[in-house]
Amino acid sequence: MREWRYWFAEQRGTLLALGIFILMFIIYTSNHPAGLTANVVQTASNKGVLLAFVAMAQTLVVLTAGIDLSVGMIFILTNCLASWLVVGTGIETAFGVVAVLGTGALCGAINGAIVIFGRLQPIVTTIATGAIYFGIALLLRPFPGGSVNEHLADALTGKLFGVVPTSLVVLLAVVLVVWVPFSRSVLGRAAYAAGSSEIAAYMSGVPLLRAKFAAYTLAGTLAATGGLFLTFFTYTGEAALASGNAYTLFSIAAVVLGGVSLYGGRGSAIGAIFGALAFRTIGDLLFVFDFDPLWQPLFQGVVLLFAVSLGAFGLFRVRNRLDWFQ
C-alpha cells in the first residue's frame, strides 16, 4: 500500500498528463468522422511526435532549472540541414543523419558551455544562440526547398504491420535509448539535483557541471531528432521563423502540462511527451467540432492555463509568506 503511494506521488505529474491526453484523444476520435482507424492514429502520431521530441529536449534543460529558448531554432536549423544532407545512397543518408544529429548536439553543447562556464542566464543565452541558429538555417535555405531520402522518410512516417505508426515506435525507442538511461545515470540524477537545490548538490559533491552540460547537449540532439522527422514529413527544408518560435513556446507549454516544474528538479520527459501529445490534440479537437481554426490559439491558451493552475495549489499551504518568493 505504502509502496504504491510513493510511486504514485512520484508519477503524479506524468499520470495527470497521460489522463488529460487520453481524455482529449477519446473525445477527438469519437467525434472524428472516420473514428479510431489506423490512419487517424498515424496522422495524429506524426503530428504529435514533432512536438514530443522538442518537448523532451526542453524537459532536460528545465530539469536543471534552466530554460532553452533555442530548441525551436535548432529544430528548424536541423530541418534545413537534413534537406541538404539526408539524401542519396544508404551510406550517404546514414552519414547525413549522423551529421544532422551531431549538429544538434553541437548547438546544445554551445548553449551549455555558455550557460555553465560563461555563467550567463539560460534565457538570454538561448535567445541569442537561437537567433544565430536560425540565421544559419536561413543561409542554408533562403527559400523552401531541398529533398530527403524518400524511402527512409516513408518508412519512418508510415505504419508498422499496417497498424502501429512507425513514428511512435521511433519515439518509444528514443525514450528507451536516451531518456531511461539518462534519468537513471549519475549524470541524470545530478541534473535533477542541480535543478532542485544547487547548493545542496554542490555540498554533496555531485558532478553538477558535467550534468548540466550533458542536459543541454542531449537537448540539442533531441531537438535535431525532431528536425529530422520534420524533414521526413515535409520532404523539404524551410527556414520558417514562425514555426521555430511556435515550437519553442509550445515545448514549454507541453513541459508544464506534462508535470515538469519550471523551477527545476521535478518531472519526467515521459510526462512532457504526453503533455506534447495532449497539446497537439487540443488543436485537433477544434477541427472535429468544426470550429473556425481562428479559435485555436485562444482555446489552447485556456486549456493550458487550466492545467497549469492545477499545479499551483501548493502555494495555499505556504506558512511563511517569504517562501512565495523563493
Binding site: 545515470s185 549519475v186 532542485s196 545542496a200 548538490a201 506558512r319 509568506r321
Partner: protein, 515 residues
C-alpha cells in the same frame, strides 16, 4: 592528552571575510575513537572551522595534516574522499529527490552504467537502520518530511559514506528527545568502531553525556581544550566570554516605564514548531532585546509581528487593541505604525541597483503622493531630513544604493522606515557586518527613538549590544522565552547561561553585576 596519534591536525588556521576576521591562528587536533566537542558563542569561528575542514571554504593561512600528510580540500567532494563527512546545520539534502536518492547521492551504486535502484534501496535501508531511523520510508520525498526526520536522513546520508571523521554541526537541534537518545547510541557505537567525531552543540547536557574532550572557541581562536567533565558549567561560560569591551553605549533612560501602557503585545503566540507559546509586551520608550543563540525563533517572532507568517495562533495587540496584521503592507499603515529592519539588507532591505533616493522613499511613497503622482518636492524634503538625521554619507542621491558602504546601506534601510515615523520598530540583528563607528551612531539613534516614544524590539547576536542598549532582554530557546532579564540582571554571564539553557547556576549568577 591524546592517547592515540591525531588523525587530523589543523595548525594556525586563519580566515577573513572582507574586513571581518572569522578565524585567527586556530588549532585543533582530532583523534580516532574520540568524541570531541566544540563550544563557543555565536560568531566565535566554529562554523568557519568546520567549513574549512569539510572543503567548503579555503583558509587564508595555516596547514592541515591528515595521517601526518599535509592536505587541502578544494571542494566538499575532495574532503569526502579523504573520509571527512559533515552533517551541516543548514541541511544539504535535495528536496525533490527521495530519501534513498539522497542517501547515495555522492556515490550511487551502478549496474551497467546506470544507478542500481535495488542496491540503492538496500544501502539506504541499511544506513537508515544504522542511524536508528528505520521508520523513514526510503521512497519518500525529502521535501515531504518534517524537519526532525530530514535531520535523521542527513545523518544516515553521512553514515552511508563510511566516514573516518564525522562532523555534526548542531545536528540535533531539530530532533525529538527519542531521536537524540538513539543518535547518541549510534555515535557511541561509531566511537567504539574507531571513528573520530566532532560534535558542535549548544546543549551542555548533551556535551556532558557524549564528549571525551572539549575545545572552546572565542573570537576566532581556540582558547582552551580540556577533558570533558573536568570543568563546571560556570567555568565553561567564563571561557566563552572573556571579551574586552569595545562599544560605547548611550546612557539608558532612567525614568520608570512600568506604568506606561504597552504599545505592542502578544499572547500565547505559536507558529509551526518554531514559535512556542510566546507572550510579551513592549511599552513606549522601551528597548526590549531578544537574546539567545542564533535560530531559536527570534527571526520568526519578528516576522510574525510584521504579518509575514500564516497560520499563527495566539493574539497580537497594538495599543491594547487586538490587531490582525496580514502583510507588511498592513503592518506599516498608520493605525499599526510598525517597521521591520530586516536581517539581510542586501536582499530584504534594499533594491541594490536602484538609487539611494528611490530606496529611501519606498515605504513613504503614499505620504508624498498627490492624486497618484509623486510630489518630488515633498519627497525631497523628507529625504533631506533623513540624510541629515542619520548622517548618511553618499556621493549623491541618484547613485545606486549598492555603491554605498555597508554601514551607510544599513542607515538607508533604517532611514526609509523612519520616514513613516513608526511607533513600533523591530530590528533583526541590524549591526551585523558594519563598522564600529556606524554601530555607535545606531545605538545613539535607538535610544533617541525610544526616548521620543517608540517601542523597540531589538534582536542581536552580539551580547554586548543587548547589554548596552536594552532595558529588558528576553532570552529565547527552542522558540520559547526562557528568561526575562531586567536592568542590572542583563549581564554577559546571565545571557550566555540562559541562552545555553543552563538552569540553576545561570539563574544564581544573573544577579551579579558585570565587572
Amino acid at each position: 592528552m591524546n592517547e592515540a596519534a591525531p588523525l587530523l591536525r589543523m595548525e594556525g588556521i586563519s580566515k577573513r571575510y572582507g574586513g571581518v576576521r572569522a578565524l585567527e591562528h586556530a588549532d585543533l587536533s582530532v583523534s580516532p575513537g574520540r568524541i570531541h566537542a566544540i563550544l563557543g558563542e555565536n560568531g566565535a569561528g566554529k562554523s568557519t572551522l568546520i567549513k574549512i575542514m569539510a572543503g567548503v571554504v579555503a583558509p587564508d593561512e595555516g596547514r592541515m595534516t591528515m595521517d601526518g600528510h599535509e592536505v587541502s580540500f578544494g571542494s566538499p567532494a575532495a574532503a569526502n574522499e579523504a573520509g571527512i563527512v559533515c552533517v551541516f546545520q543548514e541541511l544539504s539534502l535535495i528536496p525533490d529527490l527521495s530519501v534513498a536518492d539522497n542517501i547515495v547521492i555522492s556515490d550511487p551504486p551502478l549496474r551497467f552504467g546506470m544507478i542500481d535502484r535495488r542496491a540503492q534501496r538496500r544501502i539506504a535501508e541499511e544506513a537508515l537502520a544504522r542511524a536508528g531511523a528505520s521508520d523513514i520510508h526510503p521512497q519518500a520525498l525529502v521535501k515531504d518530511l518534517p524537519l526532525s526526520r530530514r535531520q535523521m536522513v542527513e545523518i544516515a546520508k553521512a553514515l552511508a559514506r563510511k566516514p573516518r571523521i564525522l562532523i555534526l554541526d548542531e545536528a540535533t537541534s531539530a530532533l525529538t528527545a527519542t531521536d537524540v537518545s538513539r543518535i547518541f547510541d549510534v555515535l557511541k557505537r561509531l566511537r567504539s568502531e574507531g571513528l573520530a567525531l566532532l560534535y558542535i552543540s549548544h546543549r551542555m547536557n548533551e556535551i556532558e553525556e557524549l564528549a571525551d574532550e572539549c575545545t572552546v572557541f572565542r573570537n576566532g581562536s581556540n582558547v582552551a581544550t580540556y577533558a570533558a567533565g573536568s570543568k563546571t558549567d560556570n567555568e565553561v561560560v567564563e571561557m566563552m566570554i572573556g571579551r574586552e569591551y569595545s562599544h560605547v553605549f548611550p546612557p539608558k533612560s532612567d525614568r520608570p516605564k512600568s506604568d506606561a501602557a504597552p504599545v505592542l503585545e502578544c499572547r500565547k503566540l505559536s507558529w509551526t514548531d518554531r514559535l512556542n507559546d510566546i507572550s510579551l509586551s513592549v511599552r513606549a520608550g522601551e528597548v526590549v532585546g531578544l537574546g539567545g543563540l542564533d535560530g531559536q525563533g527570534q527571526r520568526e517572532l519578528l516576522l510574525a509581528f510584521f504579518g509575514v507568517l500564516r497560520g499563527l495562533t495566539g493574539e497580537i495587540l497594538v495599543n491594547g487593541k487586538p490587531a490582525s496584521i496580514s502583510s507588511p503592507a498592513a503592518a506599516k499603515q498608520d493605525e499599526i505604525g510598525m517597521a521591520l529592519i530586516p536581517e539581510d539588507r542586501k536582499t530584504e532591505g534594499l533594491m541594490l541597483p536602484m538609487t539611494v533616493r528611490e530606496n529611501l522613499s519606498f515605504t513613504a511613497l503614499d505620504r508624498v503622493t498627490k492624486a497618484g503622482v509623486i510630489d518630488r518636492t515633498a519627497e525631497q524634503a523628507l529625504i533631506d531630513d533623513m540624510v541629515k538625521l542619520l548622517a548618511i554619507k553618499t556621493a549623491g542621491l541618484d547613485i545606486p544604493v549598492g555603491a554605498l558602504s555597508g554601514g551607510n546601506q544599513q542607515k538607508v534601510v533604517i532611514a526609509k522606515w523612519l520616514m513613516r515615523q513608526p511607533r513600533i520598530i523591530l530590528l533583526n540583528d541590524p549591526t551585523r557586518g558594519i563598522d564600529v563607528g556606524t554601530k555607535q551612531e545606531m545605538y545613539q539613534l535607538l535610544r533617541k527613538l525610544a526616548d521620543a516614544g517608540a517601542a523597540i524590539v531589538f534582536y542581536s547576536t552580539d551580547y554586548d549590544e543587548l547589554i548596552g542598549c536594552c532595558d529588558r532582554v528576553l532570552v529565547l530557546y527552542d522558540g520559547a522565552i526562557k528568561r526575562e532579564l531586567v536592568g542590572d540582571e542583563i549581564t554577559e554571564r546571565a545571557l550566555i547561561a540562559s541562552a545555553l539553557n543552563i538552569e540553576g547556576e545561570g539563574a544564581a549568577m544573573a544577579g551579579e553585576a558585570r565587572p
